[in-house]
Symmetry: C2
């Protein structure tokens, strides 16, 4: 087990990463909270696999355990579901000292975290992420929230967890597309903060996604990168914005394709290429960096070309992004490990998009390709699940053929 | 105009108190936020009187103004109303830099503050309180929230306002019972922090409630007291608990009488007497302090005896108070200006209640008494409005005979 400390002023916490750490969850909760009762929030596909282990670990630590399973996928991040969970907290008798345990991917982490942020004006949350995306990104940093009809993640709070327990064994049950999607954020981390990781990913690109034995160290390394940004800027006023590399375009792509065809990590992959194209456009670096990154993303099985979208619509979504605050702000690189924020003109952004768009890029990796890969239990259709703005896969209904995919 | 500064680390803000300060609201918003748009949240009885002035002031500062009127009274502090307000924020196009203006009493302040605390993970809120209770207590300190079926204020956040604008002219339209209720918190402030204020209240008890010319200085003095506690302890981990003098019993009284007969400030008045009786019980002071306080409360027109309630039920509510964290914690005094927190036995609390209970105390001040007072526009029935745990009057439906009472 590796433990990464997230140094948030007054609210620091540990992230435990490794195979089997779920069995120590009870001890983790007992040593970081004063909880006597916990409410486990989860979704059926994850709970089917892991709830028994999680409950056993909590009960072994003398905690009284209640469980709330919410609907599958992104629809769970809804005000009505939130209100039911608040009532569940009250009925379960949670007091100010007690805690919520969020067992799942980004949807559950966001929802469970927001319930905890607001019940009794804030109780502890323990994040137990079950996807690569949630482990390397969503579970660290305290972002929580729900969606409105008007947009994803429009309501929320910053609420740091008491502890994060990332059991890399659970990744073994993920379909390959879900697993691979997380590498969009991994490549992003390498580009903004860790050139050595970029080298390592390039050296292992053919095997790293499916290399279960390597997941623990890879996740820990990425958690450390994320933790560094969060520690420097827990409320996203400054350099934490660098974590948004690739996200300005990704958010527009996801929104304009209805959060269905493109999953978040896939959209971040092409969004990162757009950001690198913008860096070229601004004269910050040559085209080699984008070419190198496209080769890596392609080898990881991630998309490397953006679909052709109505340009004004793309620019309009970018301008109203809640992080944009008026004009378009964009994270670009001077070089790997050296990000900066710029305010490009719409024309500059347009020319960058031109370099990445391709009429052949309507959909990320097709079903046939995915079905051929060994770790995918069954074929995964391209038209499957919607994905939110922060990278959590979501399926509208339970799909028994995709165990673990919903988180 | 008097300005009291609330020194919260990193989030300090001004409270402007005085007659007519609503006309400067636009400037207050413009100098403390980066808002270009604001959503005014209010309720009909308050909006009828003050919305035009408030809107004019905001528009004069070049702000784009939208208005959301929510249902009257405590029922507005509901998850469904909250969800509608979130949607309204999105439809109004509020961005991260924009703000909510909460125009009303404690209900609107709590609800509007919580909307602001959570929309876009937190935008500014400007509190414009319209009752004595809200001015001296609820609008300062950042407590926001809504109710659940299981209890009042079970969901919320600490979200400090950008600025508070307390126009004491608006108090002139309040029914006398609403006005007087706020003096329950004023007497509490005097007891925990300002013995001179206690003397002054005793010297002016016959006239102070209706003395409109004196309201500004009285409110400012009380805001300064509250601000001192908030500055010392913005998240209620320590001495801010002293502000709960009288509230442990008050919460039980309100809950067990259905939040109808007893309004919050009235319950705090008798709760304060119970706390003083507990101080006697514990040998901290003699009976004179309680006798003196009862005389003052009675002269202000507030109740001085508690109704006879089922004792086990009272103790059970006290024990599950979300601030209690297990056993019963109680704020008592060593002397005026010297509060402390104790953990009495149920027997000690019971003997203290015995000293304040009276079979003649079923209801606070009757309707006939109220109708006879000059500033009450019409008679106010005893069975009127429910009141929440933090002292905000609430009427289930609009009552044209009680203008301004709903806040």
């Amino acid at each position: 087990m590796t433990t990464v400390r997230v140094e948030v002023p007054g609210q620091g916490y540990d992230v435990h990463v490794g195979p089997g750490v779920r069995h120590d969850l009870g001890r983790s909760v007992a040593t970081t909270t004063r909880a006597r009762r916990v409410l486990v929030v989860s979704q059926a596909p994850v709970a089917d696999h892991w709830l028994d282990d999680v409950r056993d670990a909590l009960v072994a630590a003398d905690l009284v355990v209640d469980v709330a399973l919410v609907e599958d996928g992104e629809p769970a991040k809804d005000p009505a579901v939130l209100a039911r969970l608040w009532d569940t907290c009250a009925r379960a008798g949670l007091e100010r000292r007690d805690a919520v345990v969020a067992l799942g991917g980004g949807v559950v982490g966001d929802l469970g975290g927001f319930v905890a942020a607001t019940f009794n004006r804030g109780i502890d949350v323990v994040q137990v992420p079950t996807t690569v995306l949630a482990m390397v990104d969503a579970s660290v940093g305290g972002k929580t929230g729900i969606d409105l009809v008007a947009g994803k993640n429009l309501v929320g709070a910053i609420h740091q967890p008491a502890v994060v327990v990332s059991d890399t064994e659970v990744l073994a049950t993920l379909p390959r597309r879900v697993l691979r999607e997380g590498f969009g954020e991994v490549v992003k981390h390498a580009l903004i903060a860790d050139p050595d990781l970029l080298d390592d990913l390039e050296a292992t690109a053919a095997t790293v996604v499916g290399d279960a034995a390597g997941h623990a160290s890879l996740v820990a390394r990425n958690v450390a990168i994320k933790a560094g940004f969060v520690a420097a800027d827990s409320h996203e006023h400054g350099i934490r914005a660098h974590l948004n590399l690739g996200h300005t375009y990704a958010h527009a792509l996801e929104a304009l394709t209805g959060y269905a065809t493109w999953w978040h990590g896939e959209a971040v992959a092409v969004g990162t290429l757009v950001a690198l194209a913008l860096g070229e456009e601004l004269g910050l670096h040559g085209p080699d960096l984008r070419a190198r990154t496209a080769t890596l993303l392609g080898a990881l099985g991630l998309p490397v070309a953006a679909p052709v979208l109505e340009r004004d619509a793309v620019l309009a979504v970018m301008a109203r992004d809640k992080k944009a605050d008026g004009g378009i702000r964009y994270v670009v690189l001077d070089a790997p490990g050296s990000p900066r924020v710029v305010s490009p003109t719409p024309e500059q952004v347009g020319r960058a998009i031109d370099r990445v768009e391709s009429p052949d890029a309507h959909e990320p990796r097709g079903a046939a390709d995915l079905a051929a890969e060994p770790s995918a239990p069954t074929a995964v259709a391209d038209t499957a699940a919607p994905t939110d703005l922060h990278g959590r896969v979501a399926a509208p209904t339970a799909r028994p053929d995709r165990p673990g995919a919903t988180p």
